[in-house]
């Protein structure tokens, strides 16, 4: 009984600390696993707490949960063994996603608003202190006046990081892109027209030696195909694209067309 209470306390503490953690419950157990029904354990990427009482299956099951920790909506895990079967339900607490808005210009303003509205952590960076100013972004969690590459090199980018490249000029976008192209970020979007993006990608292949695989991660032209024109509309199309990835929806990105033409895999970052 105290075990359960302790597990709940630890689970809540982990959620409070915004750790990626799963509460695993044995919801079905037959045959030799019968005693495991209702057992619970906590699983992090690098540790566990509690036991599922699955005997020889325990290590394998916990390891499978660990492998599923980065999947937004884990499915129940089922094991069929000669002497019984087991179903595990995985309740995942996802780390809060972070929106990195690279460039603090006119599209960044509605982006920061929308980012907070959908409860992302919002970070804005620009190398011009006049623009990267907390008064311009009252709702952002952090506003950093810092060179783009320096900020991106220092920032701990993970699978819950969504990066939007909307600087004042393409040279800055490219500079920032090179910094994050091999990062584990879930999303890298870069603003620019289809023609412009094609030219930039060609340049990156020739001069920086980027592979089609590396470039296929980049959502450019950025956003969903909703005919956006004004900065606010463009911000909505970008944030809709991000929600589409966060929730594994099925909407069509503007960059899909470009990628189909070039016979590249669509959205390798998507699970």
């Amino acid at each position: 009984m105290n075990q359960t209470d302790e597990l709940l306390t630890r689970f809540l503490a982990a959620i409070e600390a915004d750790e990626q953690v799963a509460l695993v419950t044995v919801i079905e157990a037959t045959g030799e696993y019968r005693a495991a029904l209702g057992q619970r354990a906590l699983v992090w990427a690098d540790k566990t707490y509690g036991r599922l009482q699955l005997g020889s299956l325990e290590a394998e099951a916990l390891q499978n949960v660990q492998q599923n920790l980065e999947i937004p909506k884990p499915k129940p895990l089922r094991y069929q063994r000669p002497h019984g079967q087991v179903t595990l339900f995985v309740d995942l607490h996802r780390r809060a996603p972070t929106l990195l808005i690279i460039g603090a210009g006119h599209v960044a303003l509605p982006l920061a608003e929308l980012g907070k509205l959908i409860e992302f952590k919002v970070v804005v960076v620009d190398d011009r202190p006049k623009y990267a100013n907390p008064h311009r972004f009252p709702k952002a969690d952090q506003v950093l006046a810092q060179p783009f590459t320096e900020m991106l090199r220092e920032w701990p980018i993970n699978r819950d990081t969504y990066i939007i490249l909307v600087t004042r000029g393409h040279s800055h976008d490219v500079e920032a892109l090179l910094e994050v192209i091999d990062s584990p970020a879930q999303y890298i979007g870069m603003i620019g027209s289809k023609r412009r993006v094609k030219a930039v990608f060609e340049l990156l292949r020739q001069e920086q030696g980027l592979t089609p695989d590396q470039l296929s991660r980049v959502y450019a032209p950025i956003g969903l195909d909703i005919g956006a024109e004004s900065p606010a509309e463009i911000a909505i199309s970008i944030m809709a694209e991000i929600v589409n990835i966060y929730r594994t929806g099925r909407a069509v990105s503007l960059s899909d067309a470009l990628k189909a033409n070039r016979r590249l895999p669509l959205h390798p970052a998507r699970v």
């Binding site: 359960t4 709940l8 809540l12 959620i15 919801i27 079905e28 029904l37 209702g38 607490h93």
Partner: protein, 106 residues
């Protein structure tokens, strides 16, 4: 909104007073009112928290959950929402869901 955090905080508060049951939708087939993983806390004196979709299905789940609070034995219940639509049951969605019920206590 961090629904996981909210429901487990609520759970932690409630079990300091009395054992309760947690219902979790663990499998869905067809069209059902709430998604996989949706939770509801069933309280022995009726102070339930959250919803797994309302209607007749939920009433059955609450009955089964009160049993689980009593016995402490977790159980899976099937909620069939495929009955024909009539004036009496406008909440019908047309799917089937499996709900896991477990007791939590301090």
């Amino acid at each position: 909104m961090d629904t996981t955090k909210i429901i487990y905080q609520k759970l932690s508060q409630l079990i300091s007073d009395t054992p309760v049951a947690m219902a979790t939708i663990v499998e869905v087939k067809g069209s059902v009112p709430r998604e996989l993983g949706t939770k509801m806390i069933i309280h022995p004196y009726g102070q339930h928290y959250g919803t797994i979709g309302g209607g007749c299905g939920e009433a059955d789940v609450i009955r089964a959950a009160l049993d689980v609070i009593e016995t402490g034995h977790p159980k899976l219940v099937q909620v069939d929402l495929t009955e024909p639509i009539s004036m009496e049951s406008l909440g019908v969605c047309g799917g089937v869901m499996t709900v896991y019920l477990e007791r939590w206590s301090a």
